[in-house]
């Protein structure tokens, strides 16, 4: 290694790779993976979100799952929580909708109003 800049470049890349171990505040996408969610296709929704994030090379988003919140009818349910902003809950998120939520809400910061079932 000949320059400090070179080290810095590797550091930035590697940090993106290990960011989710840091527990720092960042955008979170939470997919309902209760039995109801899975039955409604939440697994495919989750895969679509992962795939879309990877395609767009988005590294600073944490994707987790949760259990049934009691709105089984609305599953698959996806929460998007941006730091400092209210939690936005989407209902009946198919894999196509999921991709669009990533594109619109995560990337462009535009909440997809028509699919929102709760916002707090």
């Amino acid at each position: 290694m000949k320059t400090v800049e070179e080290l810095e470049r590797i550091r930035k890349q590697a940090q993106a790779m290990t960011r989710l171990r840091e527990g720092k505040e960042t955008t979170r996408i939470v997919v309902g993976m209760g039995t109801c969610g899975i039955a409604a296709g939440a697994r495919e929704t989750l895969s679509a979100i992962m795939d879309e994030l990877a395609k767009r090379n988005i590294q600073d988003v944490v994707v987790t799952q949760t259990g049934c919140v009691g709105l089984c009818e609305q599953e698959p349910i996806v929460d998007v929580i941006k730091p400092g902003a209210a939690k936005v809950t989407y209902g009946k998120v198919t894999k196509e909708k999921a991709r669009q939520i990533v594109a619109s809400h995560i990337v462009n910061g535009q909440v997809v109003g028509e699919w929102v079932i709760a916002s707090a």
Binding site: M1, K2, T3, V4, L7, I10, R11, Q13, A14, Q15, A16, M17, T18, L20, R21, E22, G23, K24, V31, M33, G34, I38, R43, L46, S47, M50, L53, A54, N57, I58, Q59, V62, V63, T64, Q65, T66, G67
Partner: protein, 536 residues
């Protein structure tokens, strides 16, 4: 670069390896793949997480859930419930000090710990130089080589107040300055990883969990004193340490972080590994040097000290693994940052290995000056089985034995010697009231008799006689005057032995005589072992 939504860190430290973590890791990888999660979940092997008797231990991020005693048969449940559905498998979380959810920044299972040396252990993949770099790895080296003069580096280490963590507590900056000021065509940096003290396994777990921190620290030391060659003398039994160090050296060379003209500064540094063959005395710095030179492992007469006349007669710095691991953060964050930890006389932290009759056995790092009581009861979880604390031996087999009256003494390199003990390498052996002091003493003295190299008479004869007398007392053949004889013999060994082995061997006996004399007297005068251990 791959994006994963979850990282599963499997502890790959030796204690977990012995508990079968490799099988768990392989099962996790297979099950994750079978469930079609291998693009979403990454399984990473990491260094020691600390709770060594709860192994195999795994941590799932981003939640930071710590699972303990994970068996291969638990893997399908973890994958299905946690990784697929996001439900924590509570039965594997346990009630022990962590309450289920741990976070990377401040893992709650660590309690009052302060992690400087172990900053990367259990957090990164030790076989990935990139993950080390992500955690500010090699930035201290870059800073030293591009912004600081060698004298500035030594000055910073001096100011930090860092003292050697191998046991002797010699000021590290001062040690470096001896070698820096010596005029020679060749100088060496040696890393002493010949951790021979029974009950100590911190160096092993540091090397396994964060090998690059040692390479970086050694390179900084090399720059500071003008050495371009380093050797790591590591115990041959430390197979995993050797393997990971070897990989780390290769990776660092490939990136040009070892080798010639590092960061274009003109400074070159190379590191080689030397395996020890398992002699306790080779942890003594001159014995270690003899061994590297291919000779019989026996200590040299000092002076001259290695700082001016060491390996192959050249000026040589010999530092312990833990000391070296402290170097990069000190240089990166400055000496003032370091001094905020620990005590005024003894700044920084200390890594301890908790063993014996204690609930949470394992590896911990705490601020210097913490009391034994807090370590045993707050971090260690107290004495199991409803028994009473009897004694703690600090500093390994050559350290002193402290009774419950001394539980509130601050543990640092200067306070413990006032009570006849030593902080040593950081082994903490806890014993409950079921153990007989004479029996323990006999065991310790047998060890020293076996490990004495035989070069000097006080140690060769002294360790044998200490063992002989104590063994007689244990058999019920002790006679009046034996205790005085032990004490006198110990004093002679302490002042006349050639190296630390003979000087420290009487330490446990002397403290036992001071704090537990009545038990020895019961064996001699009443032919009675109060705990019924000795069978007389």
């Amino acid at each position: 670069m791959e994006f994963y939504r979850s990282h599963v860190l499997v502890c790959g430290g030796t204690p977990c390896v012995l508990e079968g973590c490799k099988g768990v890791r392989d099962a996790l990888i297979a099950e994750v793949k079978r469930r079609g999660l291998d693009r979403e979940v990454k399984v990473v092997e990491t260094g020691c997480l600390g709770p060594c008797d709860l192994g195999p231990v795994i941590v799932v991020y981003p939640e930071g859930t710590l699972y303990q005693k994970v068996r291969v048969s638990d893997v399908p449940e973890i994958v299905e419930q946690h990784l697929l559905k996001g439900r924590v498998v509570t039965r594997l979380v346990g009630e022990a000090p962590q309450a289920g959810v741990v976070k990377y920044e401040e893992p709650t299972y660590l309690g009052v710990q302060e992690r400087i040396v172990l900053r990367n252990c259990g957090v990164i993949d030790p076989e990935s130089i990139e993950e080390y770099i992500a955690r500010d790895g090699y930035r201290a080296l870059a800073k030293c080589l591009t912004e600081m003069k060698p004298a500035d580096v030594i000055e910073a280490v001096k100011k930090s107040g860092l003292v050697g963590r191998g046991g002797a507590a010699f000021p590290t900056g001062l040690k470096w300055s001896f070698t820096a000021n010596a005029d020679a065509d060749q100088k060496y940096i040696l890393c002493n990883a010949d951790e021979g003290e029974p009950g100590t396994f911190k160096d092993r777990l540091i090397l396994e969990g964060d090998p690059h921190s040692i390479l970086e620290g050694m390179a900084i030391a090399g720059y500071a004193v003008g050495a371009n060659k380093g050797f790591i003398y590591v115990r041959g039994e430390y197979v995993l340490s050797i393997e990971r160090l070897g990989k780390a050296i290769e990776q660092a060379k490939a990136l040009g972080l070892l080798g010639s003209n590092i960061f274009g500064s003109g400074f070159s540094f190379d590191v080689e590994i030397r395996k020890g063959a398992g002699a306790y005395v080779c942890g003594e710095e001159t014995g270690l040097i003899e061994s590297i030179e291919g000779k019989r492992g026996e200590p040299r007469i000092k002076p001259p000290y290695p700082g001016t006349e060491g390996l192959y007669g050249k000026p040589t710095v010999v530092n312990n693994v833990e000391t070296i691991a402290n170097i990069p953060p000190i240089l990166l964050n400055g000496p003032d940052w370091f001094r905020q930890f620990g005590t005024e006389r003894c700044p920084g932290t200390k890594v301890f290995t908790l063993t014996g009759d204690i609930t949470n056995k394992g590896l911990i790092e705490v601020p210097m000056g913490i009391t034994l009581r807090r370590v045993i009861y707050e971090i260690g979880g107290g004495i199991p089985g409803g028994r009473e604390f009897k004694m703690a031996q600090t500093g390994g087999t050559s350290g002193g034995c402290l009774p419950k009256e001394l539980l509130d003494v601050p543990m640092d390199y200067f306070t413990l010697p006032e009570h006849g003990s030593a902080l040593g390498s950081g082994a903490l052996l806890i014993m409950d009231d079921s153990h007989c002091i004479v029996d323990i003493a006999e065991c310790f003295m047998r060890f020293f008799e076996h490990e004495s190299c035989g070069k000097c008479t006080p140690c060769r004869e002294g360790t044998a006689r200490l063992h002989e007398i104590v063994a007689k007392i244990a058999r019920g053949e002790g006679k009046p005057g034996d205790l005085e004889l032990l004490d006198e013999l110990g004093s002679v060994m302490q002042v006349s032995s050639l190296c630390g082995l003979g000087q420290a061997a009487p330490v446990p006996i002397k403290t036992m005589l001071k704090y537990f004399r009545d038990e020895f007297e019961a064996h001699i005068n009443d032919r009675l072992c109060p705990t019924g251990t000795c069978g007389i």
